[in-house]
Symmetry: C2
Subunit: 221 residues, 2 copies
Amino acid sequence: MSSALAPEALTTGPGPSAGRRPEKTEAILDAAGHLFREHGYGAVSMDQIAREAGVSKATVYAHFESKDRLFAAMIHGACRAYAEGLMPAATEMEDVRAALTRICREIERFLLAPKTLGIYRVIMAEGPRFPELVQSFIEAGPLPFRKMLAEFFEAANRRGALKVPNPQLAAHQLVWLVRGPLYLERMLNLKQPLWDEQSVDEVVAGAVDMFMKGYAPDARD
Amino acid sequence: MSSALAPEALTTGPGPSAGRRPEKTEAILDAAGHLFREHGYGAVSMDQIAREAGVSKATVYAHFESKDRLFAAMIHGACRAYAEGLMPAATEMEDVRAALTRICREIERFLLAPKTLGIYRVIMAEGPRFPELVQSFIEAGPLPFRKMLAEFFEAANRRGALKVPNPQLAAHQLVWLVRGPLYLERMLNLKQPLWDEQSVDEVVAGAVDMFMKGYAPDARD
DNA sequence: GTCTATATTGTGATAGAC
DNA sequence: GTCTATCACAATATAGAC
């Protein structure tokens, strides 16, 4: 279904990769990624991308059929990084609290990193114009991560280490207990602390505490 | 400091409001708001705005100095609506759980409404280009709302109805426990349920439950 | 202030030499 | 495939009549 977004289909050209230099392809993708994440889709021109990549604009068009396709390819690459950069294999765990803490730190490290936030920014801004891209983004990023978390909770349920009635909802809750308090601040990259800044440690500890109190097996309900 | 963003300063013209028809000003603002929220800043042209407002492009420029200023004025108007649309005066409360539930429903009703999400989308996308605007947006919207919530928690602390050590953090947590599970789905307005859809009732109930378990005064810690 | 018609710049995309 | 030079068009902004 998303064959139009397969990595090979994102570059142009008659033959398989007839003579195109992969180093330039990557340079263009890097420049596009950097600029799109930083300034958004509409504010970046193909000239800027070409200049930042150190090639001519015609070369950009030799590698990517259009600005749209270049954008799609950039998002696609970011999704691969998304899938690889997460998943800390927290399945093996000494005790639940420690595992949750590690997961929360991973959430902060990756989901609140400037690069990730840049992707989210541009995807949310341009989403309406690229519906299939949104689909493949969700399927490559948020969806498998939530699934992994839900499976972690289910395993903990079976072990009696947690008591989570709705693992899907709990996955959302844990993610946003960490992400939420830092989200706007970093999404809008506010330099001066606009409100009383919440430190990462406070946020992570608060999230783990609240999650444990909510889903510890000995909680009364 | 934000005098450049005072409402009077956002329209152009020599005299106070020399002959400008307020109805047209509002029509232009409405059209701009609708289109910017729907399609983003870069994808909307002044011609479209003029057409949707039922005036000529020159008239738009008679009311607003530039596209940037029109955008700023639109955001400013949305901030006033933000401040007015929230604040359900939940200070008077029978019992805490009911008050929290009402607050959570209000969060869902307003913070996840298409209009609000559109503002967030465009602010996050264009934020880097409009730093002062981001500042005034935060000060008019999220900041006072968080403050109100924190004060609510402090009052509940004094009454012994809750035990909230960090009201600021707790405000973030409550907001995102409701907002998070529905956020991406609505921000990217996915029609087909991509993952197992969380119903609003589930989300609100889950948020209140978790918050109460975390901050009920009889909780052991 | 409001309109029609226009000036001007920037940008996505291409032609043609090497 | 890669470059320089260029086209075609769309969009911001304005001139001038009423």
